[in-house]
């Protein structure tokens, strides 16, 4: 049934920051666990029975089977409840929903991942997928964060700062709040770590526009500025992918909350997206 959710057990809860926790889950039904396939950029709807549902991006990669991960920021009623859950607890899951990033189409190309804050969650799925499959020419990760304490998946990001080059993965980090930890990081990895916003990381970078795709996820204000940097470097609108957020209730194109656009073009972020190209944004008003 369309709105029935399936039991998934929490295998592990990890505190990433003071606001975000990483949940590792597995379906109770082993058959479902085997058949659960998803793409980077897709999301699921989490059901806390008797309390409600909310959409969350899958932040693990389909290349690692047997479990999946959700990175949840505590912002309100449902996510607060989620944060109280412990290892062994059960939640309901339906999905995966949405279109996801076209990973196969981008094979052989360079990927420029641009993440702002929580935008790191869906892009981590892309990053791991690309590293696991090894099918991409080069991977850039430009990550803008408020402070050192807010860096999501900090161990992984710092590991890639150190060793990424060996895997053709180039990580750059921009932070806004100066704390000793950031200054220390900047000392070690300047100019790849700097004080500023995510667009500052584009300085001095050029891309082979024929063979590059950009993938963006971050807060709504970020898109305009990042897209400008990419267009300035002559990347075509069809090579710029972004994943968007809207209020969602059904996730399958019924409840109407995520509708964007005007009389000439209406899109549902939940089923036509959440991944859109900049072309879509140009032809659909209100997308970004």
């Amino acid at each position: 049934m369309t709105f029935q959710t399936h039991d998934a057990r929490i295998l592990e809860v990890k505190e990433l920051t003071s606001r975000e926790k990483l949940f590792t889950l597995r379906f109770v039904d082993p058959e479902l666990n085997r058949s659960f396939k998803y793409k980077p950029g897709q999301f699921v709807i989490v059901d806390i029975r008797g309390f409600g549902e909310f959409p969350i991006s899958l932040c693990s990669t389909p290349t690692r089977e047997g479990y999946f991960q959700l990175c949840v920021r505590r912002v309100g009623r449902m996510t607060k409840y989620m944060h109280k859950l412990k290892e062994g607890d059960i939640v309901g899951i339906r999905g995966p929903y949405g279109n996801g990033f076209p990973m196969e189409k981008m094979e052989g190309s360079t990927l420029v991942l641009v993440a702002g804050g929580l935008g790191m969650a869906p892009l981590r799925s892309v990053l791991w997928y690309a590293l696991d499959t090894g099918k991409y020419e080069k991977i850039y990760l430009f990550y803008g964060t408020k402070a050192y304490e807010d860096i999501l998946f900090r161990d992984e990001v710092i590991h890639l700062l150190k060793h990424g080059e060996d895997m053709n993965c180039h990580v750059k980090l921009a932070y806004e709040v100066e704390t000793p930890s950031c200054i220390y990081l900047e000392k070690g990895y300047s100019p790849r770590v700097c004080k500023g916003v995510v667009t500052d990381l584009f300085r001095g970078e050029t891309f082979d526009v024929e063979n590059t795709y950009a993938l963006i996820c971050g807060p709504p204000v970020m898109y305009k500025y990042v897209i400008k940097e990419l267009l300035d470097r002559k990347l075509s609108p069809g090579r710029i992918y972004m994943t968007l957020e809207r209020r969602m209730r059904c996730g399958v194109g019924k409840c109407g909350h995520c509708i964007v656009g005007t009389s000439t073009s209406i899109k549902y972020v939940c089923k036509d997206g959440p991944v859109f190209t900049y072309w879509d944004a140009l032809s659909t008003r209100g997308l970004i």
Binding site: M1, T2, F3, Q4, T5, D47, R49, G50, F51, G52, E53, R73, V75, G76, T79, I90, G92, P219, P220, E245, R246, R247, R249, C250, V252, G253, K254, C255, G256, H257, I259, V260, G261, T262, S263, T264, I266, R285, G286
Partner: protein, 311 residues
Amino acid sequence: MYAPVKKGNIYSFQHVEKPSEIAFDYTRTMLPPKKFFVRPKDEMLRLKGGKWEESNGVEPIVLFGVHSCDIHGLEILDKVYLDEPVDPYYKKRRENSIIIGMSCMPDEYCFCKSLGTDFAMHGFDLFLHELPDGWLVRVGSVKGHEIAWENEELFEELTEEDMRNFREFEEKRANSFKKHLNKEGLEDMLDLAFNSPVWKKYEKICLGCGNCNMVCPTCRCYEVCDLWMNAYEAVRVRRYDSCFMESHGLVAGGHNFRPTRLDRFRHRYYCKSYFDPSAGFNCVGCGRCDEFCPAKIEHVKVLDEVREGLQ
């Protein structure tokens, strides 16, 4: 069986027992027949012993006296709710209903003729057209055929005169429309008029009450919430939502994708005037949003003014 019944000054689809209760000459009900398929408040799932169970089954119903525009409205809802993945609640109720259409005369609010929704070719089981001495019945489905077959004694052969009367009625009806929507290039026109001052003018008049959404036969946004019945039982309920509500586009962190009344007012017109090549416009011209708008905002007038503003 549900049919239009007069209650005070308004009509509404109500349970009826005998023909005398039915308002055969009604104009429009306040809530369209969508209320039988997408309920204003509707239980989806029931939590028992930690597991969700599908909520109870549906009762078969007959909807009698549905006007053509509302039949078109249901077909637009079908596009959304029966499209994959199918909405199970809607589907079950649709399958368990018999729709009997009935001809009507337009009042000052109707503009279905402009949208081509003034005549239904499908989407009903039987359609009754008023004649001076009875009804001309069109059959629109297998179910409709079965009903006609089983009740053969109620039907007579169609005569030349019946056809003449039918044509006369339709002609008179076609000439009775007082409101016309210019739909020529409507969707492109609106797209160009995004910054029209007309939106700003109406933003100030509109009360943001959302009535126009509630009464519209094609509006179908819903909100979901879980409610506890007692310590062990909860239900998941959905209810009508309106794009005029501030919470409609609100997401985490307090960011709102349609923060102002202006954004929300304009959004409704864009959504209603969206043209789907396979289903037409999202408005069927029933006139409900005009009749039940406390600020007396007129749908066609707004669109006309926006168009004029462009020239």
